[in-house]
Protein backbone atom coordinates (compact mmCIF):
# COMPACT_ATOMS: atom_id res chain seq x y z
CA UNK A 1 0.00 0.00 0.00
CA UNK A 2 1.03 3.57 -0.66
CA UNK A 3 0.77 5.77 2.43
CA UNK A 4 1.72 9.34 3.23
CA UNK A 5 1.99 8.37 6.91
CA UNK A 6 3.80 5.02 6.70
CA UNK A 7 4.33 4.69 10.43
CA UNK A 8 0.59 4.10 10.84
CA UNK A 9 0.19 1.07 8.53
CA UNK A 10 3.60 -0.26 9.62
CA UNK A 11 2.54 -0.12 13.27
CA UNK A 12 -0.60 -2.17 12.63
CA UNK A 13 1.17 -4.79 10.55
CA UNK A 14 0.78 -3.82 6.87
CA UNK A 15 3.45 -5.82 5.06
CA UNK A 16 4.55 -3.76 2.11
CA UNK A 17 4.24 -0.01 2.64
CA UNK A 18 5.39 2.48 -0.01
CA UNK A 19 6.09 6.01 1.12
CA UNK A 20 3.76 8.41 -0.66
CA UNK A 21 4.18 12.17 -0.91
CA UNK A 22 1.52 13.79 1.28
CA UNK A 23 -2.01 13.00 2.41
CA UNK A 24 -3.31 15.80 0.16
CA UNK A 25 -1.40 14.59 -2.91
CA UNK A 26 -0.36 11.03 -2.25
CA UNK A 27 1.05 9.97 -5.61
CA UNK A 28 2.40 13.26 -6.94
CA UNK A 29 3.49 16.79 -6.12
CA UNK A 30 1.73 19.83 -7.61
CA UNK A 31 4.79 22.02 -6.95
CA UNK A 32 6.74 20.10 -9.61
CA UNK A 33 6.57 20.63 -13.36
CA UNK A 34 4.04 18.35 -15.05
CA UNK A 35 6.90 16.28 -16.46
CA UNK A 36 8.64 15.85 -13.09
CA UNK A 37 5.30 15.21 -11.42
CA UNK A 38 4.60 12.41 -13.88
CA UNK A 39 8.03 10.92 -13.23
CA UNK A 40 7.44 11.03 -9.48
CA UNK A 41 4.16 9.16 -9.92
CA UNK A 42 5.96 6.61 -12.09
CA UNK A 43 8.64 6.11 -9.43
CA UNK A 44 5.95 5.49 -6.81
CA UNK A 45 4.16 2.98 -9.06
CA UNK A 46 7.45 1.21 -9.86
CA UNK A 47 8.34 1.06 -6.16
CA UNK A 48 4.92 -0.51 -5.47
CA UNK A 49 5.57 -3.13 -8.15
CA UNK A 50 9.06 -3.76 -6.70
CA UNK A 51 7.47 -4.23 -3.29
CA UNK A 52 5.01 -6.89 -4.42
CA UNK A 53 7.91 -8.85 -5.91
CA UNK A 54 9.89 -8.71 -2.67
CA UNK A 55 9.74 -11.39 0.00
CA UNK A 56 8.86 -9.85 3.38
CA UNK A 57 8.01 -11.33 6.74
CA UNK A 58 7.63 -8.18 8.85
CA UNK A 59 6.09 -4.80 8.01
CA UNK A 60 8.54 -3.25 5.55
CA UNK A 61 8.86 0.29 4.20
CA UNK A 62 9.76 0.83 0.55
CA UNK A 63 10.87 4.35 -0.33
CA UNK A 64 10.70 5.54 -3.91
CA UNK A 65 14.08 6.72 -5.23
CA UNK A 66 14.59 10.46 -4.86
CA UNK A 67 15.73 10.97 -8.44
CA UNK A 68 14.84 9.43 -11.73
CA UNK A 69 17.49 7.69 -13.79
CA UNK A 70 17.23 10.58 -16.20
CA UNK A 71 17.96 13.15 -13.51
CA UNK A 72 20.92 11.10 -12.32
CA UNK A 73 22.30 11.00 -15.83
CA UNK A 74 22.12 14.78 -16.01
CA UNK A 75 23.88 15.10 -12.68
CA UNK A 76 26.81 12.88 -13.58
Amino acid sequence: MVSALPSVPLSVGAHRVIKGVRVEHLCGDPSLSPEQDGELMLRIARTALDAIQTEVTDPTLFEPAQHTEKELTHAS
Binding site: V2, L26, P30, D37, A45, Q53
Partner: protein
Amino acid sequence: MFALTIFRTDPMASELKVLHYINQFFGGIGGEDANDLPVETREGALGPGRLLDQKLGDRGSVVATVIGGDNYFVEEEDESVGKVREALERFKPDLVVAGPAFDAGRYGMACALVCGAAGEMGIPAVTGMVDDNAGVLANGRDTYVVPTGDNPADMAGIIDRMMRLGLKLASGDELNHADADDYLPHGLRHGIVREKPGAERAVDMALAMALGQPITPEIKVRQYDFVPAPAPIQNLAETTVALLTTAGIVPKGNPDGQGDGAGPRKWVSYNIDGVNALTLGEWESVHSGFKGYMYNSVNPNYALPLPALRALEALGVIKRIHSEFFSIVGGGCPVTAAQNMGRDIAKRLVNDGVQAVILEST
Protein backbone atom coordinates in the same frame (compact mmCIF):
# COMPACT_ATOMS: atom_id res chain seq x y z
CA MET B 1 -28.66 -9.04 46.89
CA PHE B 2 -28.71 -7.66 43.39
CA ALA B 3 -32.48 -7.78 43.28
CA LEU B 4 -32.77 -5.93 46.57
CA THR B 5 -31.11 -2.85 45.12
CA ILE B 6 -33.66 -2.76 42.32
CA PHE B 7 -36.96 -3.73 43.82
CA ARG B 8 -37.52 -1.67 46.85
CA THR B 9 -41.22 -2.39 46.90
CA ASP B 10 -43.28 -5.56 46.92
CA PRO B 11 -41.55 -7.88 44.44
CA MET B 12 -44.86 -9.14 43.04
CA ALA B 13 -46.05 -5.65 42.29
CA SER B 14 -42.90 -4.81 40.35
CA GLU B 15 -42.40 -8.05 38.48
CA LEU B 16 -40.65 -7.24 35.27
CA LYS B 17 -42.25 -8.03 31.92
CA VAL B 18 -39.61 -9.12 29.42
CA LEU B 19 -40.03 -9.51 25.66
CA HIS B 20 -37.46 -11.75 24.00
CA TYR B 21 -36.37 -11.83 20.35
CA ILE B 22 -34.86 -14.95 18.76
CA ASN B 23 -34.33 -16.24 15.22
CA GLN B 24 -35.93 -19.23 13.54
CA PHE B 25 -33.10 -21.51 14.61
CA PHE B 26 -33.25 -20.78 18.33
CA GLY B 27 -37.02 -20.73 18.06
CA GLY B 28 -36.80 -24.39 17.07
CA ILE B 29 -38.49 -23.81 13.72
CA GLY B 30 -35.60 -24.62 11.40
CA GLY B 31 -32.15 -23.74 10.13
CA GLU B 32 -31.31 -21.99 6.86
CA ASP B 33 -34.27 -23.76 5.25
CA ALA B 34 -36.53 -21.59 7.40
CA ASN B 35 -34.58 -18.33 7.16
CA ASP B 36 -37.44 -16.70 5.24
CA LEU B 37 -39.83 -17.08 8.17
CA PRO B 38 -41.86 -13.88 8.59
CA VAL B 39 -41.79 -12.25 12.01
CA GLU B 40 -44.30 -13.74 14.44
CA THR B 41 -45.04 -13.25 18.11
CA ARG B 42 -45.92 -15.92 20.66
CA GLU B 43 -46.91 -15.58 24.27
CA GLY B 44 -44.46 -16.80 26.86
CA ALA B 45 -40.88 -17.98 26.57
CA LEU B 46 -39.36 -20.16 23.89
CA GLY B 47 -35.89 -21.70 23.37
CA PRO B 48 -33.20 -19.77 25.25
CA GLY B 49 -36.00 -17.53 26.55
CA ARG B 50 -37.04 -20.38 28.86
CA LEU B 51 -33.64 -20.17 30.48
CA LEU B 52 -34.01 -16.42 30.80
CA ASP B 53 -37.43 -16.87 32.35
CA GLN B 54 -36.05 -19.40 34.82
CA LYS B 55 -33.12 -17.14 35.80
CA LEU B 56 -35.42 -14.17 36.31
CA GLY B 57 -37.23 -16.18 38.99
CA ASP B 58 -39.59 -13.97 40.95
CA ARG B 59 -37.98 -10.83 39.55
CA GLY B 60 -39.89 -11.12 36.33
CA SER B 61 -40.91 -13.31 33.44
CA VAL B 62 -40.70 -13.57 29.68
CA VAL B 63 -44.19 -12.55 28.61
CA ALA B 64 -43.69 -12.87 24.86
CA THR B 65 -41.24 -14.11 22.25
CA VAL B 66 -40.82 -12.55 18.82
CA ILE B 67 -39.32 -14.92 16.25
CA GLY B 68 -37.98 -13.94 12.86
CA GLY B 69 -36.22 -15.71 9.99
CA ASP B 70 -32.66 -14.47 9.55
CA ASN B 71 -33.07 -13.52 5.90
CA TYR B 72 -36.62 -12.29 6.24
CA PHE B 73 -35.93 -9.89 9.06
CA VAL B 74 -33.09 -8.14 7.28
CA GLU B 75 -34.58 -8.22 3.78
CA GLU B 76 -38.02 -7.04 4.90
CA GLU B 77 -36.67 -4.71 7.52
CA ASP B 78 -39.54 -2.20 7.59
CA GLU B 79 -42.23 -4.83 7.88
CA SER B 80 -40.25 -6.83 10.45
CA VAL B 81 -39.54 -3.85 12.65
CA GLY B 82 -43.22 -2.91 12.32
CA LYS B 83 -44.21 -6.32 13.69
CA VAL B 84 -41.78 -5.86 16.56
CA ARG B 85 -43.37 -2.50 17.36
CA GLU B 86 -46.82 -4.12 17.35
CA ALA B 87 -45.60 -6.73 19.83
CA LEU B 88 -44.06 -4.04 22.02
CA GLU B 89 -47.33 -2.09 22.03
CA ARG B 90 -49.35 -5.19 22.78
CA PHE B 91 -47.25 -6.59 25.62
CA LYS B 92 -45.79 -3.31 26.95
CA PRO B 93 -42.62 -4.98 28.28
CA ASP B 94 -40.34 -3.28 30.80
CA LEU B 95 -37.30 -4.80 29.13
CA VAL B 96 -36.39 -6.26 25.73
CA VAL B 97 -33.74 -8.97 25.41
CA ALA B 98 -32.57 -9.96 21.92
CA GLY B 99 -30.52 -13.04 21.11
CA PRO B 100 -27.69 -13.67 21.87
CA ALA B 101 -26.67 -13.74 18.22
CA PHE B 102 -23.04 -14.84 18.75
CA ASP B 103 -21.20 -14.33 15.43
CA ALA B 104 -24.27 -14.61 13.19
CA GLY B 105 -24.34 -11.42 11.12
CA ARG B 106 -27.98 -11.38 9.99
CA TYR B 107 -29.22 -12.45 13.41
CA GLY B 108 -26.99 -9.80 15.00
CA MET B 109 -28.43 -7.16 12.71
CA ALA B 110 -31.99 -8.27 13.55
CA CYS B 111 -31.21 -8.11 17.28
CA ALA B 112 -29.84 -4.58 16.84
CA LEU B 113 -32.97 -3.52 14.94
CA VAL B 114 -35.20 -4.98 17.66
CA CYS B 115 -33.24 -3.11 20.32
CA GLY B 116 -33.45 0.05 18.20
CA ALA B 117 -37.24 -0.24 17.95
CA ALA B 118 -37.48 -0.75 21.71
CA GLY B 119 -35.21 2.23 22.32
CA GLU B 120 -37.41 4.48 20.18
CA MET B 121 -40.33 3.55 22.43
CA GLY B 122 -38.31 4.23 25.56
CA ILE B 123 -38.01 0.57 26.49
CA PRO B 124 -34.59 -0.55 27.75
CA ALA B 125 -33.08 -3.26 25.56
CA VAL B 126 -30.05 -5.50 25.67
CA THR B 127 -28.54 -7.98 23.24
CA GLY B 128 -25.41 -10.12 23.04
CA MET B 129 -22.99 -10.92 20.20
CA VAL B 130 -19.32 -11.00 19.25
CA ASP B 131 -17.71 -7.59 19.16
CA ASP B 132 -17.23 -7.52 15.38
CA ASN B 133 -20.74 -8.62 14.50
CA ALA B 134 -22.22 -6.07 12.08
CA GLY B 135 -25.13 -5.66 14.52
CA VAL B 136 -22.82 -3.95 17.00
CA LEU B 137 -22.41 -1.00 14.65
CA ALA B 138 -26.03 -0.87 13.50
CA ASN B 139 -27.38 1.44 16.20
CA GLY B 140 -24.17 3.04 17.37
CA ARG B 141 -24.35 4.09 20.96
CA ASP B 142 -27.98 3.26 21.50
CA THR B 143 -27.69 -0.49 21.86
CA TYR B 144 -26.30 -2.28 24.86
CA VAL B 145 -24.40 -5.34 23.70
CA VAL B 146 -23.00 -7.98 26.03
CA PRO B 147 -19.82 -9.27 24.38
CA THR B 148 -19.93 -12.99 23.64
CA GLY B 149 -17.81 -15.61 21.94
CA ASP B 150 -19.09 -17.67 19.05
CA ASN B 151 -19.96 -20.81 20.97
CA PRO B 152 -23.68 -21.43 21.63
CA ALA B 153 -22.65 -23.81 24.42
CA ASP B 154 -21.99 -20.65 26.49
CA MET B 155 -25.69 -19.76 26.26
CA ALA B 156 -26.50 -20.09 29.97
CA GLY B 157 -23.72 -17.74 31.09
CA ILE B 158 -24.55 -15.19 28.39
CA ILE B 159 -28.27 -15.23 29.21
CA ASP B 160 -27.29 -14.58 32.83
CA ARG B 161 -25.09 -11.64 31.86
CA MET B 162 -27.69 -10.14 29.50
CA MET B 163 -30.26 -10.46 32.27
CA ARG B 164 -28.06 -8.67 34.81
CA LEU B 165 -27.38 -5.79 32.45
CA GLY B 166 -31.05 -5.70 31.46
CA LEU B 167 -32.23 -5.58 35.08
CA LYS B 168 -29.90 -2.71 35.77
CA LEU B 169 -31.08 -0.81 32.69
CA ALA B 170 -34.72 -1.45 33.58
CA SER B 171 -34.15 -0.28 37.16
CA GLY B 172 -33.18 3.14 35.86
CA ASP B 173 -29.90 3.04 37.80
CA GLU B 174 -27.05 4.79 36.07
CA LEU B 175 -24.68 2.37 34.38
CA ASN B 176 -21.02 2.16 35.23
CA HIS B 177 -18.38 2.05 32.54
CA ALA B 178 -18.52 -0.69 29.92
CA ASP B 179 -16.18 -3.19 31.60
CA ALA B 180 -17.78 -2.88 35.02
CA ASP B 181 -21.30 -3.42 33.71
CA ASP B 182 -20.32 -5.93 31.03
CA TYR B 183 -21.27 -4.28 27.74
CA LEU B 184 -19.31 -3.30 24.66
CA PRO B 185 -17.91 0.23 25.00
CA HIS B 186 -20.00 2.97 23.44
CA GLY B 187 -17.08 5.35 23.15
CA LEU B 188 -18.57 7.64 25.79
CA ARG B 189 -16.16 8.94 28.41
CA HIS B 190 -17.05 9.57 32.02
CA GLY B 191 -14.93 11.75 34.25
CA ILE B 192 -13.66 10.01 37.39
CA VAL B 193 -11.36 11.13 40.19
CA ARG B 194 -8.15 9.19 40.74
CA GLU B 195 -5.85 9.32 43.74
CA LYS B 196 -2.91 10.65 41.76
CA PRO B 197 -2.88 13.16 38.90
CA GLY B 198 -2.14 11.94 35.37
CA ALA B 199 1.46 13.18 35.30
CA GLU B 200 2.35 11.15 38.39
CA ARG B 201 0.60 8.08 37.06
CA ALA B 202 2.46 8.41 33.75
CA VAL B 203 5.83 8.64 35.56
CA ASP B 204 4.91 5.65 37.74
CA MET B 205 4.05 3.69 34.64
CA ALA B 206 7.26 4.68 32.85
CA LEU B 207 9.32 3.67 35.91
CA ALA B 208 7.51 0.35 36.13
CA MET B 209 8.18 -0.28 32.44
CA ALA B 210 11.86 0.58 32.88
CA LEU B 211 12.09 -1.87 35.78
CA GLY B 212 10.36 -4.54 33.77
CA GLN B 213 7.34 -4.59 36.08
CA PRO B 214 3.85 -5.26 34.77
CA ILE B 215 1.75 -2.19 33.94
CA THR B 216 -1.95 -1.65 33.37
CA PRO B 217 -2.48 0.89 30.58
CA GLU B 218 -5.38 3.27 31.22
CA ILE B 219 -6.34 3.49 27.58
CA LYS B 220 -7.28 0.33 25.77
CA VAL B 221 -5.37 -0.15 22.58
CA ARG B 222 -7.14 -2.28 20.05
CA GLN B 223 -5.27 -5.43 19.15
CA TYR B 224 -5.06 -5.86 15.41
CA ASP B 225 -5.13 -9.15 13.59
CA PHE B 226 -1.82 -10.52 12.50
CA VAL B 227 -2.02 -11.43 8.83
CA PRO B 228 0.92 -13.25 7.25
CA ALA B 229 2.49 -11.43 4.31
CA PRO B 230 1.34 -12.74 0.93
CA ALA B 231 4.08 -14.40 -1.12
CA PRO B 232 5.86 -12.12 -3.58
CA ILE B 233 4.74 -12.01 -7.20
CA GLN B 234 7.01 -14.24 -9.32
CA ASN B 235 6.09 -13.13 -12.80
CA LEU B 236 5.06 -9.49 -12.92
CA ALA B 237 4.57 -9.49 -16.69
CA GLU B 238 1.78 -12.05 -16.24
CA THR B 239 0.14 -10.23 -13.34
CA THR B 240 -3.17 -8.37 -13.31
CA VAL B 241 -2.96 -5.45 -10.88
CA ALA B 242 -5.94 -3.72 -9.29
CA LEU B 243 -6.05 -0.24 -7.79
CA LEU B 244 -7.89 0.61 -4.58
CA THR B 245 -8.00 4.06 -3.04
CA THR B 246 -9.25 5.29 0.32
CA ALA B 247 -9.61 8.86 -0.99
CA GLY B 248 -13.26 8.39 -1.99
CA ILE B 249 -12.74 8.95 -5.73
CA VAL B 250 -16.04 8.63 -7.62
CA PRO B 251 -17.46 9.80 -10.95
CA LYS B 252 -18.37 13.49 -10.75
CA GLY B 253 -21.80 13.85 -9.18
CA ASN B 254 -21.32 10.73 -7.02
CA PRO B 255 -23.93 8.54 -8.77
CA ASP B 256 -23.82 5.77 -6.14
CA GLY B 257 -24.13 8.08 -3.16
CA GLN B 258 -20.77 7.15 -1.67
CA GLY B 259 -20.65 8.64 1.83
CA ASP B 260 -18.20 11.36 2.74
CA GLY B 261 -16.95 9.48 5.79
CA ALA B 262 -19.52 10.67 8.29
CA GLY B 263 -22.03 7.84 7.89
CA PRO B 264 -22.02 4.10 7.19
CA ARG B 265 -19.18 2.77 5.10
CA LYS B 266 -19.37 1.09 1.74
CA TRP B 267 -17.07 0.35 -1.15
CA VAL B 268 -17.77 1.21 -4.76
CA SER B 269 -16.00 0.19 -7.95
CA TYR B 270 -15.80 1.80 -11.39
CA ASN B 271 -14.76 0.57 -14.80
CA ILE B 272 -11.56 2.14 -16.12
CA ASP B 273 -11.04 0.06 -19.26
CA GLY B 274 -9.56 2.36 -21.86
CA VAL B 275 -9.15 5.20 -19.36
CA ASN B 276 -5.56 6.42 -19.31
CA ALA B 277 -5.98 9.02 -16.62
CA LEU B 278 -8.74 10.33 -14.37
CA THR B 279 -9.75 13.84 -15.40
CA LEU B 280 -10.92 16.67 -13.17
CA GLY B 281 -14.14 17.14 -15.12
CA GLU B 282 -15.20 13.52 -14.75
CA TRP B 283 -13.98 12.41 -11.32
CA GLU B 284 -14.01 13.81 -7.83
CA SER B 285 -13.21 12.89 -4.24
CA VAL B 286 -16.17 12.84 -1.85
CA HIS B 287 -13.93 12.25 1.17
CA SER B 288 -14.94 15.02 3.58
CA GLY B 289 -11.30 15.54 4.51
CA PHE B 290 -10.35 16.37 0.96
CA LYS B 291 -13.11 18.57 -0.40
CA GLY B 292 -11.37 21.37 -2.25
CA TYR B 293 -8.04 19.65 -1.90
CA MET B 294 -5.61 18.67 -4.65
CA TYR B 295 -7.63 15.63 -5.72
CA ASN B 296 -10.51 17.87 -6.74
CA SER B 297 -8.61 20.92 -7.90
CA VAL B 298 -5.34 19.69 -9.42
CA ASN B 299 -5.19 15.98 -10.19
CA PRO B 300 -7.48 13.11 -9.14
CA ASN B 301 -4.71 10.68 -10.17
CA TYR B 302 -2.82 11.70 -7.04
CA ALA B 303 -5.23 9.29 -5.33
CA LEU B 304 -4.68 6.52 -7.85
CA PRO B 305 -1.54 6.47 -10.05
CA LEU B 306 -3.45 5.35 -13.12
CA PRO B 307 -1.37 7.21 -15.77
CA ALA B 308 1.88 5.72 -14.42
CA LEU B 309 0.45 2.22 -14.26
CA ARG B 310 -0.98 2.54 -17.80
CA ALA B 311 2.53 3.45 -19.01
CA LEU B 312 3.94 0.39 -17.27
CA GLU B 313 1.15 -1.73 -18.72
CA ALA B 314 1.99 -0.45 -22.22
CA LEU B 315 5.65 -1.38 -21.64
CA GLY B 316 4.60 -4.91 -20.68
CA VAL B 317 5.90 -4.53 -17.13
CA ILE B 318 2.54 -5.84 -15.89
CA LYS B 319 0.01 -7.86 -17.85
CA ARG B 320 -2.88 -5.47 -17.31
CA ILE B 321 -4.68 -3.14 -14.94
CA HIS B 322 -7.89 -4.67 -13.62
CA SER B 323 -11.02 -3.39 -15.35
CA GLU B 324 -12.35 -1.80 -12.19
CA PHE B 325 -10.80 0.29 -9.51
CA PHE B 326 -12.18 0.26 -5.98
CA SER B 327 -12.91 3.29 -3.86
CA ILE B 328 -13.67 3.71 -0.18
CA VAL B 329 -13.62 6.67 2.19
CA GLY B 330 -10.90 6.00 4.72
CA GLY B 331 -11.02 8.81 7.27
CA GLY B 332 -12.09 7.65 10.72
CA CYS B 333 -13.25 4.32 9.33
CA PRO B 334 -14.00 1.81 12.12
CA VAL B 335 -11.70 -1.21 11.99
CA THR B 336 -14.62 -3.63 11.76
CA ALA B 337 -16.13 -1.77 8.80
CA ALA B 338 -12.74 -1.73 7.09
CA GLN B 339 -12.34 -5.46 7.67
CA ASN B 340 -15.76 -6.19 6.25
CA MET B 341 -15.16 -4.07 3.15
CA GLY B 342 -11.70 -5.59 2.75
CA ARG B 343 -13.11 -9.10 2.89
CA ASP B 344 -15.74 -8.29 0.26
CA ILE B 345 -13.27 -6.60 -2.06
CA ALA B 346 -10.73 -9.42 -1.65
CA LYS B 347 -13.37 -12.00 -2.59
CA ARG B 348 -14.26 -10.01 -5.67
CA LEU B 349 -10.61 -9.64 -6.68
CA VAL B 350 -9.90 -13.35 -6.29
CA ASN B 351 -13.01 -14.11 -8.29
CA ASP B 352 -11.90 -11.71 -11.03
CA GLY B 353 -8.44 -13.33 -11.24
CA VAL B 354 -6.48 -10.36 -9.88
CA GLN B 355 -3.07 -11.29 -8.43
CA ALA B 356 -1.93 -7.98 -6.94
CA VAL B 357 -3.42 -4.80 -5.54
CA ILE B 358 -1.91 -1.40 -4.97
CA LEU B 359 -3.84 0.31 -2.18
CA GLU B 360 -3.51 4.07 -2.08
CA SER B 361 -4.18 5.08 1.48
CA THR B 362 -4.63 8.74 2.14
